[in-house]
């Protein structure tokens, strides 16, 4: 493993940082680098990475992706946009904010959405208490790496009592560096900080995309802080290139009576790991983690979720569903921690996977750590193939084989998709899912 590369890159990155970066943050970054160098890239000997080898990332040299020259993006970002739906659409190319591709039309009530680097340089008051303090990196090497190396990302601030009716779309596009042969693969470490004040509400959509066939490494970290009674609906649509490596973490901390819904959709990438960590830090908090993943060929998608019930009277609902074709592999690990004080916790977890071929595989593990005694915690897992009796039933009524299979697969995914509250975003996601499914089904047929 070539950790020296990252030490060198860190030195270079530090020299490039704008002068305005607060000393406390610089210290956190130094700590994060040290921690990353201590931890190194995880191997399958680590329990958290047992089924997911990141050797392809550890063993190849990556170079940080430079900003665009003259704002000319070699990749057409149009297909990745959510047209006419969003209050703001911030576009990042290889981790760098590109104002000319972004729109920030109608943010009301003093809400902000913009470049994180600019917010840091401008000493936005939410930076110091929250940035790099929600997503813990002590035991998370990729979070440590991002914290050390992130150049830019998004900063979203919704003041108390403000409701954003339309979503904020954060679009992270990787170019893969063009076709230059022999040049090193590119990596980016986008960072998102969203702070929602008391009684505020917002929807945030993150898209990660790249041109098919390009190989690159994206390592994003998102931190979301919810004030009392704040509501966030968060979408992550991962539609990276089929050759890309994507290791991302989303960490949310919810105060009293706050409500967080996370919808994670993984449709692209060769090696994908999504970590979602939700800490219910105040009484009466609610959190829903929904996920959907699709993989074909030899791709791997790993979803690790942690719901930390740190206080009493909180509820969590989790449903993850996956479809795997060819020789694809899926991993689901759902940890629910119920702390000693978290009485009256009501937690429910479901995860199901549908295997479309004999060679597809899923490793699924619920992990319940319950330290309180008056709680309701349930979990269920099921892995199976398409129900052949159901296929025959539909065919016996005249539907073709492909149509019957399609109907059943959509039914399988339906309850996850239906939980997404924003219709235009949901429909966009449905189209991405349908395309990916059609490809997987073609391969399976």
């Amino acid at each position: 493993m070539n950790l020296d590369l990252y030490r060198t890159e860190y030195t270079k990155a530090r020299a490039r940082r704008p002068k305005g970066e607060p000393p406390a943050l610089a210290e956190r970054r130094d700590e994060a680098l040290s921690r990353f160098l201590e931890l190194g890239f995880p191997t399958t000997r680590h329990e958290e990475w047992r089924f997911t080898s990141v050797a392809p990332i550890a063993d190849q040299p990556f170079a940080p992706a430079p900003p665009l020259v003259g704002d000319v993006c070699p990749v057409d970002v149009t297909p990745f946009r959510f047209h006419g739906v969003c209050a703001a659409e911030l576009v990042f190319v290889d981790g760098h904010y590109v104002p000319s591709l972004s729109t920030r039309a109608a943010l009301l009530g003093g809400a902000r959405a913009g470049s994180l680097a600019a917010a840091i340089a401008g000493h936005a008051p939410e930076i110091d208490p929250f940035l790099a303090r929600v997503a813990a990196f002590e035991r998370a090497p990729f979070v440590a790496l991002n914290t050390a190396l992130f150049a830019d990302g998004a900063y979203v601030h919704v003041p108390a009592h403000t409701v954003l009716e339309h979503p904020v779309h954060l679009l992270f596009v990787s170019t893969g560096g063009g076709a230059a042969h022999g040049s090193p693969l590119l990596m980016s470490h986008p960072r998102v900080l969203a702070v929602l004040g008391d009684n505020s509400q917002a929807s945030i959509v993150e898209t990660y995309a790249g041109p098919d066939g390009m190989r690159y490494f994206t390592n994003p970290v998102t931190e979301i802080v919810l004030g009392q009674n704040a509501v966030v609906v968060h979408y992550k649509l991962q539609r990276e290139s089929s050759e890309a490596y994507h290791v991302g973490t989303m960490s949310v901390r919810a105060s009293r009576s706050a409500n967080c819904a996370s919808h994670s959709v993984s449709a692209g990438g060769a090696l994908v790991r999504n970590d979602v960590v939700a800490v219910l830090a105040g009484e009466g908090g609610e959190c829903a983690l929904n996920g959907l993943y699709l993989a074909d060929r030899q791709r791997l998608v790993d979803n690790h979720t942690t719901i930390d019930h740190a206080t009493a009277h909180c509820g969590s609902r989790e449903i993850y569903k996956g479809i795997l074709a060819d020789r694809a592999r899926g991993v689901f690990n759902g940890k629910i921690i119920v702390r000693p004080d978290a009485q009256k916790t009501d937690a429910k977890q479901t995860n199901r996977a549908l295997l479309l071929s004999e060679d597809a595989q899923v490793n699924s593990k619920p992990e319940l750590e319950i330290f309180a005694n008056d709680v309701k915690c349930t979990h269920g897992a099921a892995v199976g193939q398409l129900d052949e009796d159901a296929v025959f039933y539909l065919r016996s009524r005249g539907l073709g084989l492909a149509e019957a299979r399609h109907m059943l697969i959509h039914a399988f995914l339906g309850d996850v998709l239906q939980r997404m509250p924003l219709a235009p975003v949901r429909e966009g996601i449905e189209r991405v899912v349908a395309r990916q499914l059609a490809r997987a089904l073609d391969a399976a047929a």
Binding site: D387, F392, R395, R397, G398, L399, M407, A411
Partner: protein, 251 residues
């Protein structure tokens, strides 16, 4: 309409049908009776094209066409319908959506115009009334959480919507109380016509009081051992199947 010649079929390596000969004319209702394990349901499933059953010998002609050469959806489109003995629950697929897709596929195949949502609903409501079904049923997933009786009624309802030429009822009467049985039988009787035939597979004579057959066949050990008029069913009810165990024409 339907000609079955020397049909042999097996499932999981076991021979079940051992030479079935059967001929159904337009407008006729034939009943297949027989003890458990005689192959009644196998015959129904082979005709519908269930992939688990392997035909090893013989042929089946439907309006002169080779039925066995068609996949299950083609059989449905040309007009063969089987009401399942155990209808499958399909969570997440709603009844109305499924039935509209099925009906329009079938109509398209028969050269009819596809129905739009409005015409479809008109047709559906009429058929539902016939079978005394609640409208809430349309938005429920196919067969999920249905009682046994509701499932069977749903099969007949689907048949009434898809309007096949040949309806095969695979033990549709099993597990029905008398009221449900009457509703199901009324549904079938309303569909009887000179252009439509039925093959009614049943274990009990009771159903045949309501759906009166033209011909009754007795199936034992994979062969038809006796055929006769509707009075044969009554005789079976009286004497049981054992007096037929040694087939008349046994070689």
């Amino acid at each position: 309409m339907l000609t079955v010649r020397n049909l042999h079929a097996r499932v999981s390596g076991r021979d079940i049908l051992r030479g079935i000969d059967l001929s159904i004319m337009f407008g006729e209702v034939h009943a297949i009776m027989g003890p458990n394990g005689s192959g009644k349901s196998t015959l129904a499933r082979v005709l519908a094209g269930h992939p688990e059953y392997e035909v090893t010998e013989g042929e089946v002609l439907f309006e002169g066409e080779d039925l066995l050469g068609m996949d299950p959806e083609t059989r449905a489109r040309v007009g063969v319908f089987m009401a399942f003995q155990y209808p499958v629950e399909i969570p997440g697929v709603n009844n109305a959506y499924f039935l509209k897709a099925a009906l329009n596929t079938v109509r398209k195949h028969r050269g009819l115009e596809e129905l739009d949502a409005m015409d479809f609903m008109t047709l559906i409501r009429e058929r539902m009334k016939q079978l005394d079904m609640d409208e809430s049923f349309l938005n429920r997933p196919v067969n999920e959480g249905f009682s046994g009786g509701e499932k069977k009624r749903n099969e007949i309802f689907q048949m009434a919507v898809l309007e096949p030429k040949l309806g095969i009822l695979d033990e549709t009467d099993s597990g029905l109380d008398i009221d449900a049985l009457r509703i199901v039988a009324d549904g079938v009787n309303a569909m009887r016509s000179a252009e439509r035939s039925f093959l009614v597979v049943t274990h009990y004579q009771r159903l045949l009081n309501y759906i009166v057959p033209d011909v009754v066949h007795v199936l034992t050990d994979g062969r038809i051992v006796r055929s006769g008029g509707k009075e044969l069913a009554l005789e079976l009810e009286d004497k049981g199947y054992s007096w037929l165990e040694e087939p008349v024409g046994k070689r």
